[in-house]
Symmetry: C2
Subunit: 336 residues, 2 copies
Amino acid sequence: MSSVTIKDIAKLAGVSHTTVSRALNDSPLINPETKERIKAIAGSLQYTPNYSARSLVLDRSYNLGLFFSTLRTGTSAGFLYEAIKGVNDVIKDEYNLIVRGIDDYKSFHQVNRKSFDGIIVMSQSASDQPFIEYAAEKGIPLIVLNREIEDVQVMNVVPDDQSGAFRMTEYLIQQGHRRIAIIEGKEGFKSTQSRRDGYLEALRKYHVAFSEAMSAQGNYDLESGYAAMNRLLDLPERPTAVFCCNDDMALGAVKAITERGLKVPDDLSVVGFDDQLFSAFMTPALTTIRRPIEEMSRAGAAKLLAFIESKQLEHETVYFHTELVIRDSVKTIAGG
Amino acid sequence: MSSVTIKDIAKLAGVSHTTVSRALNDSPLINPETKERIKAIAGSLQYTPNYSARSLVLDRSYNLGLFFSTLRTGTSAGFLYEAIKGVNDVIKDEYNLIVRGIDDYKSFHQVNRKSFDGIIVMSQSASDQPFIEYAAEKGIPLIVLNREIEDVQVMNVVPDDQSGAFRMTEYLIQQGHRRIAIIEGKEGFKSTQSRRDGYLEALRKYHVAFSEAMSAQGNYDLESGYAAMNRLLDLPERPTAVFCCNDDMALGAVKAITERGLKVPDDLSVVGFDDQLFSAFMTPALTTIRRPIEEMSRAGAAKLLAFIESKQLEHETVYFHTELVIRDSVKTIAGG
DNA sequence: CACAGAATTGCACACGTTAACAATGCTCTT
DNA sequence: AAGAGCATTGTTAACGTGTGCAATTCTGTG
């Protein structure tokens, strides 16, 4: 039951534990025959190295941290899923992927270079800033995904939210819409800001008037989209199209519209942002912006690993293009 | 930059590193004043213990493994999300949560008692069996969630799938349906079996005839539900209700139905299983069975931690009740 | 004052691994 | 045949922490 160590193997092979260590690590110093013999013994004893001991002497934890702003409400399931999938695809077999919510920490005490070989922050909010600064200051290899970081020097991979929102709004205008409402994301999130900016930029460019009444605050969850849409429907002069700042809220918005006996897109057009897994299967299928979370995660993880191994630093921010996915939730208005 | 150890603190405090170790671990042996002094110094130096060293001597890794059958296709986002959320809520601050797909391992070599203080397997398929047996044999504290394990002695927390499927089918029958189709889950999954069994059991109990044509194979993803539904719609004598073995497939089914110009539930009733986050916001809102993944994960994690700390073993299987969630996707057929 | 016993601290080793350096034996060259 | 140099293996220390046991100091009691 008690686990076998290299010393046990050494005893059986009649060599020193050093030789065993070298043999198992494929050191060229060891005679091929001895090496084979030792490996055979190790195999038959089902030897597995003690990672704690190895970590201690090599000063590597074999842990990679994947941190989200929160694992409570606020992080969508698809988001978590794609991020984990992307990172997991890339990390070598030898790394452990540790998942945590930043807001789970009372203190960042336990976060240090000994415990994490590297850290990936999937940042959704400015509230992550202290954590990012802490990790950066501790000298832990660090990459921040999804949210643009300005003050601190870190590796950064982000989607181009603003151009995505611009493209979407432009598309609605091109389909003849002029009264275009926006259901906004959670306050304080950078993405909320960027998407609003893209929306406004498009309105400006095409000389479409913006009115405050056309903006409803949401917080990125289903219910808030439902509630915000109801407020918009109560307006004396309703919009003809609604740009929801994510797909969850679009789902809620469609629900609100349908409940009033109206139809999407015949009576009202609805678009989203994110391209969640379910969006293609909504009724109607949702026109939205795809934000390549999985690809970004994969790229970010690869970049982090490369840095850990080479210590070659690149601080430039990488932008990932979003993509307009046209489906069935927008009506083309004749004349314009 | 090089990290501070208890020896550094010892030097500054003018004591031995033993005393520092004891002080920081709140040993009653140490004079309260010395203790305070040492803690103050540790705090001012921002000391953080080296977990590798501690692990080595204490023979604890502080790692908890959360294993899914796969992180590639087959695990739904909501499933992953709820499981992580539930476990994360419970684990003490001192544990790392390591997430992996079992099918990522070429060999289970790295999985041992030194690397994991405990393992939670969120099992979705019989293909997990070798892994479970391996972990059990290695003597790693182990709990299996979601799938019932028969041959191996392990802690087990599972939903009562069969009674859930039974309840759902019974409900459809009570609403007057007699031609009830089933879109089945992925072959080889125990859940597929249990849900079919519950479905058949209800048919038998209420003397409703079953025909093979009413069964369409799926594999738990959206597309397969879409395809299976199309096959059912091609039948000369269509069903009046379809029991989809999960919500993703129900979403696909609704899509297929709508595309043919038919309406749910007016022309065809559709129900699901799992109660995903989006199900309440589909059009129409989906009637489904809630499987309490998050609660099960929470209970399982708590049970595992209790075992790790007390070594008090309980091998009985815990069943979690599912719940029928009635929404708007079923039509009541008059007369029956 | 002496001494028992408690309170407090230190010494030395252990955990399992890696690696610098030393040591041994062998081969080849001259 | 002697020495250089290579191939192979062993000796020893180190990583940072926890702990059994010995050592010291302190307290109280007779």
